[in-house]
Symmetry: none
Subunit: 427 residues, 2 copies
Amino acid sequence: MINKRPGRVEIIAVGSELLTPHFQDTNSLYLSARLNDLGWTVAFKTIVGDNAEDLRLRLREALRRTELVIVMGGLGPTGDDITREAVAGALGRDLVLQRDVLEGIEDRFRRRQLPMPKPNRKQAFVIRGAAVLPNKNGTAPGQVLMVGRKKIVLLPGPPHELKPMCEESVWPALGKERSGHFSRAVLKVTGLTESMVDALISDLYPKRADLGLTILASPGQIEVHLSAFSAGSGVLAEKKLRRLKSKFMGRLRNHVFSETGDSLEEVVGLLLKKQKKTLAVAESCSGGLISHRLTNVPGSSEYFLEGAVAYSNAAKIELLAVSPDLIKTHGAVSFPVARAMASGIRRRARADLGLAVTGIAGPTGGSPEKPIGLVFTALAWPGGTEVQKNLFLGKREQVKLQSAQKGLDMVRRHLLQNARSKKRRNR
Amino acid sequence: MINKRPGRVEIIAVGSELLTPHFQDTNSLYLSARLNDLGWTVAFKTIVGDNAEDLRLRLREALRRTELVIVMGGLGPTGDDITREAVAGALGRDLVLQRDVLEGIEDRFRRRQLPMPKPNRKQAFVIRGAAVLPNKNGTAPGQVLMVGRKKIVLLPGPPHELKPMCEESVWPALGKERSGHFSRAVLKVTGLTESMVDALISDLYPKRADLGLTILASPGQIEVHLSAFSAGSGVLAEKKLRRLKSKFMGRLRNHVFSETGDSLEEVVGLLLKKQKKTLAVAESCSGGLISHRLTNVPGSSEYFLEGAVAYSNAAKIELLAVSPDLIKTHGAVSFPVARAMASGIRRRARADLGLAVTGIAGPTGGSPEKPIGLVFTALAWPGGTEVQKNLFLGKREQVKLQSAQKGLDMVRRHLLQNARSKKRRNR
C-alpha cells in the first residue's frame, strides 16, 4: 500500500544526561533530515531520562499517535541502560538471548585481545519478534519490530554507531514503504559572510510550497540547503531541484566549494590527487587543526607530506628556516614571516605546495596594532607566493576554525586557478 | 509546604521549525540549569510542532506525570501561534481579553510610532484564572496557572524575552515553593573501557532517591555524573555529594583525570605548567589532533614547543632523526620506531618530554599482523622512554580520537608519577 500523506514519526532520545544543562541531542537533526528525504514528517521529539517507567509510558503514548517510533540510546551494557527492558515491558514481550549477536560481541573483544566483560552479555538480548540491525562500530545492535501496523526502531546513541546503522539498514527498509519524493542539495560556501551570501541570492528565495531553502552559518562556512518535492515521481523532484540549484550556482559560482556534501578538506584532497600535487603545512595559531582536518580524509597520505606546528620562534627558525631577523623586525605575526613560513615548509618537505598560518588566537597576546583575530595565511608554489591578511572575530577556537578554513580555501582556489590556466593553455 | 523529593518538570517547546534538521532548542539548557539550582528535576523534554491537537494531547499527558509543566513558544501574533488556544482547550477553559495587557501592547507600538497591527490583539488574551508575567522585551506576556496542585507556565520562545521573564517573575516564585538543593560532580575517566568502569563501581550505584548517577561513554573517555539532593540545605547536599564522590574516587583513583570539568588537554597543561616542563609532539596516525587539542588551551605556548605531523617516512627520518634501517626492519608502525620518534622530537625541540604516536588509522593499510587500529604511543623523558601497544576499534576518526587521548594520558600519568616520586624523595 502506498501512503499519500507523509507518515508521522516520533523520535525518543533516552539519557538522563540529555536532560541536564550540559548535553544536547544532535542525532535527531540527522534523523530528521534523512526521514524528510524519505517523505516522513517528524511530529514529536522527546527526551526521557534513564527511567524505565517514564520510557514505557512515553512509548505507549507515541504508538497511539505516530506510525513510526525511533528510540535511541540506552542500549549500552550498564545498569542504567534501560531501553531494551523498558520497550519489551511496554509491549508485554520478553527478551531473548540471541546467540549470533553474543558471538559478534565476543568477537569484537577478541579482536582487541580482551575478554568480554560480563555486563556486555546483556547487549545480546533481543525483544521477541524483533529483527536485529547489525552494528559495525559498537557492541549494541539495533532492533526493529512491528506492533500491529506501527513500527518501532531501537538505535544506539553514539552518532558514529547510529549513522552507519541507519544508512545500511534503516533507510533502505523505510524507503520502500513510502512514496512522495524529496530531492535535496547542499551548496557549501566559504570566503563570504552570511550577509554577503544573502545579498547575492535573496531575490532567488523560492516562494512555492514544493521548493525549500534554508541557510546555515558556522565559522568560515555558509551552507545553502535546497529541496524540491514531488508527490508523483523522484525524477520530477530531481528535475525541479536541478533547475533551482543552477540558479543559485549562477550567483555563488566558485565560492561554492562543494555540492555533494564533501568537507573542504575532502575537496582540497580530491584536487591535489587529481593534479598529482603534494602539500605540506606550517601552522602557528591554527595549532595543528589544518593537519588534523587533512588527515581525517582516508588516503591523505598520498598528497599530505607533513605538518609542522611551529608554536615557538625557535621552531619557526629551525624547522622552517625563517630568518631570526625577519621575526625581530616584523614580529612572528606578520606578512613577511607568513610568506617565509610557507616557502620554508615547502622546501623542507620538498612539497609542491606550502601552506602557512600565523596569527593571534587569543585570549591574550593582542595589541592595538595587532589585535586578537589578526591572522596571516600564506601559500607557496613553484612559481611564487601569496599572502592574505585576515581579521577574524570570536574566541580562540573560532579564530582557529576560521584560520584553518581560510588556509584550506587558499589551496583550493589556487588549484582551481591552476586547472583553468592549464585548460586555457591547452586550447 | 516543603516537598521532600525533587519536583519533576516537563519542558515542552512548541514550533515546527524545531522539528526540522536546521534548528535546535537551546532555551531548555538554560531552563534546566536554573530549575536544577532551585531543586527541580527535568524529567522530560518534548518538542511539538505548531499543531494545536498535538499540543493539547501532550499537555494532558505531561500534567499526569509531572508537578510543573513549562510550555515555551507559540505565543506570537500569527495564525500558527497556537499555544494559548491549545492550552486553554486542553484544560477546558476560555480565553479572556485582558485590558491592561492590550494597553501595554498598544503602548509598545506607540513608542515606536507605529499603529498596532490587528493580529497582535490576540496576544492580550489570557487563559481564565492565569496570572500574567510581564514581558519587557516583546509583546507576548507569559502566563502562570494552577490546575489542581499542578502548575503550568507559558513563556515566549525568543531567548531574549524568555530569560529576563524567568529571572524577574518565574524563578522567584518557584524558589519560594521549593526548598530543595542539588549538588553535582563529574568524574572524567580515561584508560578504561565502559565495562571496566562498570565492573569497578557497579556495587556502588546509589539506590536512594536523593542520590543520582549517570555514566557517559565516548571514544577514550568515560564520564561518571554524580548528584546529591537535600530538601533542607545546600550544605547538606554538598556533604552527601562529597561522601558519594569519595566512594567512587576510592575505586577509580588516578584513572580519573578531572573532577572539575576540565578536558584532558587542560589537565595535562596544568601539570606541565606546575612542574615547569615543556612538551613536543610527533604525530603520525593522530595527524595533528594532539597538537590541535593542546593548542586549544589558552596559554599553551608556555609549555607546548612544537608539533610535527610526520606522515611520510622521509619526514620521520629527516625531522625526527629516526634511522631508515629501523623503519626498513620493523616498519613505520612498530614499537622501536615509536620510541625513536618520541626521543627524536624531544631532542629536536629541546623539550623536557617528547610524545609520539604511530599507527594504522584505516580504512586501508591494515594487514593480519598489523591490523587497522594498531597504534603505538611513546613518551620520552630525560631518564628514559615508555612505549605502549594499543588496539583501537572504530573508523579512522575514532582511531585518531583514541590515539590522541591515550597519548595525552601517558603524559598525564608520567607527570603524576613524577610528582609522587619527588614527594617521596623529599620526605
